[in-house]
Subunit: 414 residues, 2 copies
């Protein structure tokens, strides 16, 4: 079964927001075995909404729509859907009572605009939105389904999980989709492809291979669409086992999974604690770990020591070292890692110091230069990485390299 | 002039990556006055690529395509474009020399796969990619343009900026697009809309109003498409001035701009320094500030004091206070803010302590409860916020609330 995703909102087309809703919806659909045919983002425009939905309905059995359900005049999705399906808008008393309760608890007046949130196209199935004022709506026509969800990510997410997915599973006979990703490290994409060419050529035709290069890693994804039973998942396992015989030294793990998730799991399994000392990465390493539920089991303390004074006063970096080698140096990275490990009483620590730019670079240390150190009971190691030329990219890559380095160190000391 | 954006890659449709390329491309196009008609994401599938490009070319004068240009077999965009435009692939010697140099410097063998990166469809204009091995390609047909760019965000970004935008500006007669956003705080979306209804109704028809609700703020965006000269920008200013007479107490600023950018500018203007102490937000506040070029002018130090020991040992929070009131309490938030302000020698500090979940909540302090404190020379204030029920949402909202609170404090003390 195929589905299309349509996200509505001028803010997407002008680049004012990043569309994460469609990512989350795609994951839900894939997990249930529904193939996402395409994702389309369009503006708050009546004609474009109608055209796009008609076309999407011709290509897919289900279309999931988000956005355009707010109480203000710029949001027109509900009105347009009602017109498309030839329905008039009627008040849903359950939604009206919920909206009133919700607003009262937040001290907001129940006015004409909020009241309009309780209007729904007659004949659609109302999907109750416990977390917001705009209900979800489920339309059926000639065996095909259109679902309209609010654009607030959190409200969309709950409706998708609690209302839409159970209904899709009940309404359609779904097959399975299997994605499994293996992480390699140490071979460039083209060299890896050359090494595994014979394996790739011999893959069964229903398995689709994708190369996903990242800083420090190339991931290989095997996918099978619309399959039944467990045999395909087992075949993927067998194929990955064959690969292990070909490039044993380059396979670092499997994922759903980010490198920080692998480290997260390793730290919890081994009962080790972690501290971070970040200069150029500015808290990104700490935030990647603490974004994961359960991080409090091992994450002790992170220090974003942006100034030289903070490096010295908080982490105990020797000011003479900074004066002699500069803040971006192997010596300072090492002292930062060891310093935060000590003050946090942690087993492991990782530190970054670098030049994120756009200013601050020199011939010897251009923008993008980052020193990374990892301190563990086995000692401290440090490495210099060149992380690009763009501030956002440098921060992101340096954080990724640092977490990969921590991961390798943990593997070596296991 | 209209453009469509097409991003190609199975990884987008299965939700394995967030498509940020299309956001960046949309910003570039808007800034140059090009209306983005739609964004479409499709898989690495020959037929779908051809169908989508044909349709996009019918709707827009230019189509910007990213993805599918890697050296491995799963990437088929270049081959498909060559077929579509009836060209054969020929080696570009400049690209070949560049790829060889680039790989040699990274110690990667120049093999058959890399060599194929230098093949381009005959007749297209090659856009030199200084940062990667896949060149950009510019095709023209019947007065319409298709541009193919690599999917690596950093390579795409440079090609878009240095090659694509100058050519689009030279090739098409572009008008202007004006977006201007005003930030309000303190009125819920529906109450705000009610208060400014007469103003909204009286807007000139060529100005499009959008409401953009966020935690702690509702932004109002006025947009005008395909306009010429300065008069529209001036009209938007006049309209915002009228609004200032209607809701003076709720307007907090203007943006392109996030609240952290406003704080960033204020701190730099006033020569004030900042420190952060984060528990539940785990480094997100520090990373939002340090993501901005120039943050080193004011950002002294951030501490992610996840454990109680870190709160006590690093920030000097009194363990007795933690024992009496709990780590998530007004008292601990205040001591965290004051502690980090002291150890960093900063003028201002902001602190968060809360329950990000999914576990750790209680009846009295459910998941989502966050205490935020702001310490300045004028004293310390603290506020309790309920930030939702989902870990990611709680972290994001708590960070936003904290930065908004810092902003309000700075305004009151100005």
């Amino acid at each position: 079964m195929r589905a299309s995703i349509v996200t509505i909102g001028d803010e997407i087309l002008i680049g004012q927001i990043v569309d994460t809703n469609s990512v989350s919806i795609a994951r839900h659909l894939n997990a249930a075995g529904i193939v996402v045919h395409e994702k389309i983002s369009i503006g708050d425009d009546r004609e474009q909404i109608v055209d796009t939905l008609r076309r999407a309905l011709a290509a897919s059995q289900a279309v999931i729509v988000t956005g355009g359900l707010g109480p203000t005049k710029d949001d027109i999705t509900k009105k347009t859907l009602a017109e498309m399906f030839g329905s008039r808008l009627v008040e849903d008393s359950a939604v009206a009572a919920h909206v009133r309760r919700m607003l009262e608890s937040r001290g907001i007046a129940f006015n004409e605009l909020n009241r309009s949130q309780a209007l729904v196209p007659e004949g659609c199935t109302v999907l109750f939105n416990a977390h917001g004022t705009a209900p979800g709506m489920w339309f059926e026509q000639e065996g095909r389904v259109v679902v309209s969800l609010p654009g607030v990510p959190f409200e969309m997410e709950h409706l998708m999980q609690d209302e839409v997915m159970p209904r899709l599973k009940a309404r359609f006979a779904l097959k399975g989709i299997v994605h499994r990703t293996l992480i390699t490290s140490g071979l460039a994409e083209s060299m890896l492809a050359e090494r595994i060419e014979a394996w790739e050529t011999a893959l069964p035709p229903y398995l689709k291979l994708a190369y996903l290069p990242n800083p420090g890693a190339v991931r290989l994804r095997l996918s099978a669409y619309e399959v039944e039973g467990e045999s395909v998942a087992q075949e993927i396992e067998r194929q990955f086992e064959k690969l292990r015989a070909i490039i044993p030294e380059y396979i670092v793990g499997f994922e759903t999974a980010t490198v920080q998730e692998l480290v997260h799991n390793t730290l919890i399994e081994r009962g080790l604690s972690l501290a971070t000392a970040e200069s150029c990465t500015g808290g990104v390493i700490a935030s990647r770990f603490t974004a994961m539920p359960g991080a409090s089991a091992y994450f002790r303390c992170g220090v974003v020591s942006y100034s030289n004074e903070a490096k010295a006063d908080v982490l105990g970096v020797d000011p003479a070292t900074i004066a002699q080698y500069g803040a971006v140096s192997e010596q300072v990275a090492r002292q930062m890692a060891e310093g935060v490990r000590r003050i946090a009483g942690a087993d492991c620590a990782v530190a970054t110091t670098g030049i994120a730019g756009p200013t601050g670079g020199s011939d010897e240390k251009p923008v993008g230069t980052v020193w990374i150190a990892v301190a563990t009971p086995a000692g401290t190691i440090a490495e210099r990485k060149v992380c690009g030329t763009d501030r956002g990219q440098i921060i992101d890559r340096a954080a990724s390299y640092a977490i990969s380095m921590l991961r390798e160190t943990l593997l070596q000391n296991s």
